[in-house]
């Protein structure tokens, strides 16, 4: 199938070496431009173009997935900076995943954005994001990778600006945090290329993590986990949830950024570099994962807005992936990748359900809505499936991938295992709260919204949700299906499909889930409201003040950076003033005074001039003696 496309590409381009890989990048980009060229009023034409681009990308991705091989190389400039693409088992699977989610969220977006302003720009950025993501995954050259990676930041910024045009503070925040991560990646690419002696990825293989390699590894790793939204590059995501159009949250922070970040992390840790279990770097990566899991889920627990809550979970779940990959054990890596794909499915689904709620009720604030289950039954079912998945309830897909990560964490260190289990407990608790508050209990709607107006979301929105919910179930029950794609990535002979092999860990997980349910019942009994079921944790003696500080953003890395930058700017300003004073006041007065003094000396008296001359002669005579 791929050969057919390659023949077609050769036919179109006259055999210049361009092939299907090139079209993976160019096609969405060209159609992205087309969507904004089509007149503004024709929503249908634009949407058709938009969906056609996503579908075409899906077809090409399927073709690549079947062939699993191919490469192309166009020499751009010297220094080995070539436009080089290559596809293998891993990247073909990733490209396929990107394409599937692009289509699903694309269908949803068309329905969601109907009658909204700026939908054309959204389509354009969406397709450009797809093009850039394809380019980044298929790149066979570090500079090309960097190019597309930075391109993703541009489209990210663009999408955020759409939602908050007047005061793009969130877009700025995302730009700064992503910019830092991307700069680190750039530094890492430079160090890696210096160590490998080439920019072509073929030459960057299994480098040892020592000397320059430490810099290269750490910086590239920071760039990858920063894109995935791990701490400390996470804090723009909850803010973005409030301002950006909802499909943005479903496609970028929930899906694409996880896929790309984790893809690159795996590439770095096991392809470019050789990370071994138990090494310092392994512990560093695991620690990042563990901290992200716990801190983000703690913040998720107390959120009162569906989108904010989900976005904290999007941060927290990436911790599991990083933790799994950080163990450097086969079970951990496969678990991390499996969790990534599962996460994308259920988190996408959860965001889409939140979008349905927002579309129907106009808000996602849990204090204003509750008991929607009767009005929106299909959305509720989808939500329940996805919530069970993220909480790790068997036999949904999240359970299996989490068990694999638990297994790896158990072997790598008790601390990491405890962090993972604590994260699972709080995840389950917060979703119990969310589900209870939003979909069950007495019906409660925002002012001005009547119960008869609130109905099930349109079919175009339900379809993607339904497919994703079904996927969660299928990937859980038939986990051999995804694992058979993932396992060959790290080598032959691994099989983790089927029921988890460690009964102990499964038992612990089940106990934790039961504890979460018990905790919810305790909280509900205490306050009588589903929304306040976790208040006993929120307002516990010490936690209360910590949460207070966190809500006031004292821990937000972006705000800390901004305070530091303000201080730095203040110091610079002071230095600048001082330098200015030297130039504007001190020097001017000194030179002016000197000049005036000389003016006074030159008073027109010839006697004085003669005296100077004789002084000069004496001076010269002294100099003569000195030099001789």
């Amino acid at each position: 199938m791929g050969a057919m496309f390659t023949d077609l590409a050769n036919f179109i381009t006259g055999g210049s070496g361009v092939n299907i890989l090139y079209f993976m990048v160019v096609l969405p980009a060209v159609l992205a431009v087309l969507t904004v060229i089509i007149p503004r009023d024709s929503f249908i034409a634009r949407s058709i173009c938009f969906l056609a681009a996503a579908l075409a990308d899906l077809i090409l991705a399927i073709a690549l997935f079947i062939d699993k091989e191919g490469s192309m190389l166009l020499s751009w400039t010297d220094f080995e900076i070539n436009l080089a693409f290559r596809v293998d088992d891993f990247s073909s699977a990733i490209v396929l995943a990107l394409a599937i989610f692009a289509v699903l969220v694309g269908i949803y977006s068309v329905s969601f954005l109907r009658k909204k302003e700026k939908y054309g720009q959204f389509y354009c950025y969406y397709l450009l994001t797809l093009a850039m993501a394809n380019g980044a995954v298929l790149a066979d050259n570090l500079v090309v990778l960097l190019f597309f990676w930075e391109g993703l930041m541009v489209t990210l910024f663009g999408m955020l600006v759409i939602g908050d045009r007047q005061k793009p503070a969130t877009a700025m925040k995302a730009l700064v945090l992503n910019g830092i991560a991307d700069l680190l990646l750039m530094l890492g690419v430079a160090a890696t290329a210096a160590q490998a002696g080439t920019f072509m990825m073929a030459g960057v293989s299994q480098l040892p993590i020592e000397g320059l390699g430490i810099l290269g590894f750490v910086c590239m790793m920071a760039g990858a986990v920063g894109k995935a939204g791990s701490m400390p590059f996470h804090s723009w995501i909850p803010d973005a949830a409030e301002v950006a159009p909802l499909p943005f949250m479903a496609i970028l922070p929930a899906a694409f950024e996880k896929i790309l970040g984790i893809y690159l992390l795996v590439r770095i840790t096991f392809d470019f570099y050789q990370m071994v279990p138990g090494s310092v770097m392994s512990i560093v990566v695991m620690a990042i994962g563990a901290i992200t899991i716990v801190l983000a889920v703690c913040m998720a627990l107390i959120q009162k807005d569906i989108k904010r809550l989900l976005s904290y979970h999007a941060i927290s779940q990436v911790g599991y992936m990083i933790l799994g990959i950080g163990t450097a054990l086969p079970v951990g890596i496969i678990g991390g990748l499996f969790h990534m794909i599962n996460h994308v499915m259920y988190k996408c689904c959860l965001f889409l359900t939140a979008g349905s709620v927002e579309k129907q009720t106009g808000t996602t604030d849990l204090r204003k809505i509750s008991g929607l289950g009767k009005l929106m039954p299909i959305t509720t079912v989808c939500f329940l499936v996805a919530a069970f998945s993220i909480s790790g309830v068997p036999p949904f897909n999240g359970f299996f991938s989490k068990e694999l990560v638990f297994d790896a964490a158990w072997e790598s260190g008790m601390v990491f295992y405890i962090a993972a289990v604590l994260g699972a407990f709080l995840t389950a608790a917060s979703f119990l709260k969310l589900g209870h508050a939003a979909y069950f209990g007495p019906l409660h709607l925002p002012e001005g919204v009547k119960a008869e107006d609130v109905k099930e979301a349109p079919g175009a929105m339900l379809l993607p949700m339904g497919i994703l919910a079904l996927g969660c179930l299928v990937f859980g029950l038939f986990n051999r299906l995804p694992l058979s794609v993932i396992q060959p990535i790290i080598g032959e002979g691994y099989d983790f499909s089927g029921w988890p092999h460690s009964i102990t860990l499964v038992a612990i997980s089940c106990v934790v889930l039961l504890l979460a349910v018990g905790n919810h019942i305790f909280g509900y009994r205490r306050t009588g409201e589903g929304l306040k079921a976790v208040d006993h944790i929120h307002y516990a003696p010490v936690l209360r003040s910590i949460y207070n500080c966190a809500e006031k953003r004292y821990f937000d890395p972006y705000d800390i950076i901004m305070v530091l930058i303000k201080g730095f700017a203040w110091v610079c300003f002071g230095i600048d003033r001082a330098i200015n004073w030297v130039y504007d006041v001190l020097m001017v007065n000194f030179i002016g005074g000197l000049s005036s003094g000389m003016r006074l000396l030159n008073n027109g008296s010839v006697d004085r001039y003669m005296v100077w001359s004789f002084v000069g002669i004496g001076f010269i005579a002294l100099l003569c003696l000195f030099f001789v």
Binding site: I591, G592, L594, S595, S596, M598, R599, N602, G604, V606, R608, Y609, M610, W612, S613, V615, G616, I617, F619, I620, A621, L623, C624, F627, V628
Partner: protein, 488 residues
């Protein structure tokens, strides 16, 4: 040497004398009418002659040519010699004298007869300085130039002019005494005052009978010429003299006379006589840098157009001497080119000051303002000249300053090189102040009806500005010529 060339060489010494004769033999009324034209003929003729000699020397592949005019060559006492540097100086003299006569047309009034006579004598004296090959003849021509200058400054016979001329006279007398004393000591050691003889006698100067006497001689000669060129701290007379002289006299005096009497002589001394005498170079370098910096600093708060130009001259003379003091070919060439550039842009500025004085009646910059609109030619040529002085590329001043600073850098005196570069900021500072006060802004009260001066002043501003820009743009050709001569 061809007979034609000998005839051309006669122009340098003969033409000024001839014009003085014609001027005085004619009836006074006729002389008053044509004397300035005669002066112009002398200036232009000299420029043409310099170019002709240059071309024929270049064609013959000679670096210099010796000739005699009033003395017999075989007697050996005195003779003249022309090389490329003296041709450059002769061309500058012709150019500045021409500009001076063009300016005189509107400014000198009924003193034109005397002005012409004196200017021709100064011209003769300066040509002599450029051509002589022995120290005593140099002294004679210095005196000819000096005496005529004193009188010229006081041409208007009013207080300021007489005072300025008197100061110049006193200081010059001291300088003369020093120079003559120094020459006597040198004569005691070398037994001859021919440049070449003195140079060979001094080549091993530390092993002569009385090195202390020679050191005294160096110091005396150096101080004498320093006074004549007006470098710090011997500069006292110079601003007073420049300021008090009539406009046309300022052009000649500021444009070339002090340069020939002082700077050119010092360049000859360092280039031809004190070759390899490190002592002189080091002292000269110190004097030069002091002049550069203090001259520029002192210019910043001056309030008189011509006085600012006078201090600027002190600073720029410093650059020329700095180049000469490096003792390297590149430094000497930089100094010569800066000599030429200085003659160009400083003459432009003096002509501009004459234009302003003619149009408004004053040179006090605080009473002036907004003349750019009223006097566009003067304003633009003034800006070009000052940018060239400050060393802004691609104008001519940039290149010569660059060569000089490079030469200083090569000698290892990085601090002095940096200071010389830094002083350009002061140059820009005082000239910007001048431009702002005189030309920029809106016209001050009483100057609304100012008109651009026409005729000779305007013409010379334009021509000199064209030379400044053109020389800057064509400078690579100049460097190629210098290279073809094997000088660098």
């Amino acid at each position: 040497m061809s007979a034609g060339l000998e005839f051309v060489l006669l122009v340098f010494m003969g033409l000024p004398l001839l014009i003085v004769l014609i001027n005085n033999l004619l009836k006074r009324e006729i002389a008053q009418k044509i004397c300035l034209s005669l002066g112009l003929i002398a200036g232009i003729g000299q420029m043409v002659a310099a170019i002709v000699v240059f071309v024929s020397l270049n064609a013959a592949g000679q670096a210099s040519v010796d000739f005699s005019q009033f003395w017999n060559l075989t007697a050996g006492a005195s003779r003249f010699s022309v090389d490329f540097f003296s041709l450059l100086a002769l061309f500058c003299i012709g150019m500045v004298v021409t500009a001076g006569f063009l300016t005189a047309g509107k400014t000198i009034g009924d003193k034109r007869f005397n002005f012409t006579n004196l200017a021709m004598i100064i011209l003769l004296g300066m040509n002599g300085i450029a051509l002589v090959t022995d120290l005593f003849s140099l002294y004679v021509f210095l005196e000819i130039t000096g005496v005529a200058s004193f009188v010229m400054i006081a041409l208007n016979k009013e207080g300021n002019g007489i005072e300025g001329g008197f100061k110049y006279l006193v200081m010059s007398a001291i300088a003369t005494a020093f120079i003559l004393g120094g020459l006597a000591f040198i004569f005691m050691q070398s037994g001859s005052l021919l440049y070449s003889d003195v140079a060979s006698a001094l080549s091993d100067w530390q092993n002569v009978d009385q090195p202390a006497l020679l050191i005294v001689a160096f110091a005396l000669v150096l101080v004498g010429f320093s006074i004549k060129s007006g470098i710090m701290p011997f500069h006292g007379w110079l601003p007073d003299a420049y300021q008090s002289a009539p406009a046309a006299v300022s052009v000649i005096l500021g444009g070339i006379v002090t340069k020939m009497a002082g700077v050119y002589a010092i360049l000859r001394l360092t280039g031809d006589i004190f070759v390899g005498v490190n002592l002189v170079n080091q002292i000269l370098m110190l004097l030069a840098i002091v002049s550069i910096v203090l001259g520029a600093v002192a210019a910043i708060t001056q309030t008189d157009f011509k006085r600012i130009l006078a201090y600027s001259s002190i600073s720029q003379i410093g650059y020329i001497l700095l180049g000469a003091s490096c003792g390297s070919a590149i430094g000497l060439i930089g100094a010569m080119l800066h000599f030429f550039n200085h003659a160009t842009f400083k003459t432009t500025l003096f002509v501009n000051s004459a234009a302003v004085e003619t149009a408004t009646g004053t040179t006090e910059i605080e009473k002036l303002g907004g003349l750019q609109e009223k006097m566009p030619v003067t304003g633009v040529s003034s800006i070009l000249a000052f940018l060239s002085t400050a060393g802004i590329p691609p104008l001519a001043g940039f290149w010569s300053k660059l060569l000089i600073i490079l030469a200083v850098w090569q000698t290892g005196n990085f601090f002095i090189a940096g200071l010389a570069l830094f002083a350009s900021i002061f140059t820009a500072a005082y000239f910007l102040r001048l431009q702002r006060c005189v030309f920029f802004g809106s016209a001050v009260e009483g100057l609304e009806n100012t008109k651009e001066v026409t005729g000779g002043i305007c013409l010379s501003s334009v021509v000199l500005s064209v030379i400044t820009v053109g020389f800057g743009l064509l400078f690579p050709l100049v460097l190629l010529f210098v290279q073809s001569q094997g000088l660098i």
